[in-house]
């Protein structure tokens, strides 16, 4: 089957069990991340460095993720993706703790960068597994389950984190524990699920696709641009600029920002199954166009808010 587009059976193809397990692992990752993320800027601030240096910790983490992604994808394509997903989770657990206990700013920077590299190996291996086990007719719903797991964990994270905040290393310990739990889940359940759901394991070379080959496909360029735009608005804008905007222009407290983010995140989780069904039974293009226009409209509404408020 080369494409599951508009096939009559499209909506009935079941989502493989392995995808549900992957989503479970993603809940652990998202939950842990949601708990640990607010602590990281405090760690840098503790060393009494400039704001620029403190934001360098975040940049080092992101840069490490970008640099490590291509080799991670080659490793996941060649080796069995389940351990490639699980082992870095243990590495992330350890490096986060070491970052929390770092005696110097350089140490903190180093452990965060190493942790960033490890997390991207997990992300890429998880997606490698997802696209290997999800049949064409269920790809939309499978992606929705995968994506929803991470988001749901990320939403609950700060709520749980609020309870344990104040105890210095506790959020990082909980993060590490959740990662280890997810890693064990991945290693034990996915090793088995993968064997059950992919009977025709081709050789490693035929399983791997080069970037050039993908880029020649228009659909790949559309997917990458969508991802870029989506992260720009849904991640970049939502978590950095909007909180500043709410405080500076609308003159509202952080509680309102929190409520707004919770509302957006909850909607995103609740709408995921609908997006999945639409993607499988209607078309890939429809949801992509609607999503792009809706994101554009949501950003423009904020611009109108500023005009009316100021």
């Amino acid at each position: 089957m080369s494409s599951g587009e508009r096939t009559a059976a499209g909506d009935r193809t079941p989502v493989p069990v392995a995808v549900v397990v992957l989503a479970g692992v993603n809940v652990c990752i998202g939950l842990g991340y949601g708990i640990a993320a607010p602590v990281i800027p405090l760690l840098a601030a503790a060393f009494d460095v400039s704001d620029l240096a403190a934001s360098g910790v975040v940049s080092a983490y992101a840069l490490a993720r970008i640099v490590a992604a291509p080799p991670a994808s080659r490793l996941a394509a060649r080796a069995s993706p389940a351990p490639v997903m699980a082992v870095p989770m243990a590495v992330t657990a350890v490096t986060s703790l070491l970052a929390g206990m770092a005696g110097s700013f350089t140490g903190l920077l180093m452990w965060r960068a190493l942790g960033g590299a490890a997390t991207v190996v997990t992300s890429v291996a998880g997606q490698t597994l997802l696209y290997r086990v999800a049949p064409a007719g269920a790809r939309g719903r499978a992606t929705a389950v995968f994506h929803g797991g991470f988001l749901a964990g990320g939403l609950a994270g700060p709520l749980v984190g609020g309870v344990i905040a104040g105890v210095s290393l506790a959020p990082l310990l909980v993060y590490g524990g959740l990662l280890l739990l997810g890693g064990v889940l991945a290693a034990v359940l996915l090793g088995r699920a993968r064997r059950a759901s992919t009977p025709e394991d081709g050789d490693a070379a035929s399983m791997s696709m080069s970037l050039r080959e993908a880029w020649a496909d228009r659909r790949f360029r559309v997917a990458v641009l969508t991802q870029f735009a989506n992260a720009w608005v849904g991640n970049g804008l939502r978590f950095t600029v909007i909180p500043l905007f709410v405080a500076a222009v609308l003159g509202l407290g952080p509680v309102w920002t929190g409520l707004g983010l919770l509302l957006a995140g909850t909607t995103q989780v609740l709408v995921a199954p609908v997006s999945g069904r639409l993607t499988d039974s209607w078309s890939r293009r429809g949801p992509l166009v609607l999503g792009g226009l809706a994101a554009g409209a949501s950003a423009l509404l904020l611009a109108v808010d500023e005009t009316t408020a100021g």
Binding site: T128, Y131, T143, E213, R219, N230, G234, V274, L293
Partner: protein, 85 residues
């Protein structure tokens, strides 16, 4: 914020499924670059938006974000991603 949540869900799900269509059971660097698009936007987006908000107004940053989104919708229309290979 509700609209932004709906948009995020549609884009992530349909974009991911489209990547799956391109791969068609295979794996490797395309997955890495799909992930990199997310991480790069996560770094560049706030920097560019913050710079615009500082230099002019928050509205400028929001209009820029809207332009990036509408561009992705336009490319999705032009790219005809429903066609099988």
């Amino acid at each position: 914020m509700v609209l932004s949540g709906v948009a995020g869900s549609l884009g992530a799900v349909a974009g991911g499924a489209l990547l799956g269509d391109v791969l068609d059971g295979r794996s490797g660097p395309p997955i890495a670059w799909y992930q990199i698009a997310f991480d790069v936007a996560g770094v560049v987006g706030p920097l560019a938006s913050g710079a615009m908000a500082e230099a002019s107004t928050y509205s400028a940053a929001f209009v820029l974000a809207a332009a990036v989104s509408v561009l992705s919708a336009a490319v999705a229309v032009a790219g005809r991603p429903r066609r099988a290979r």
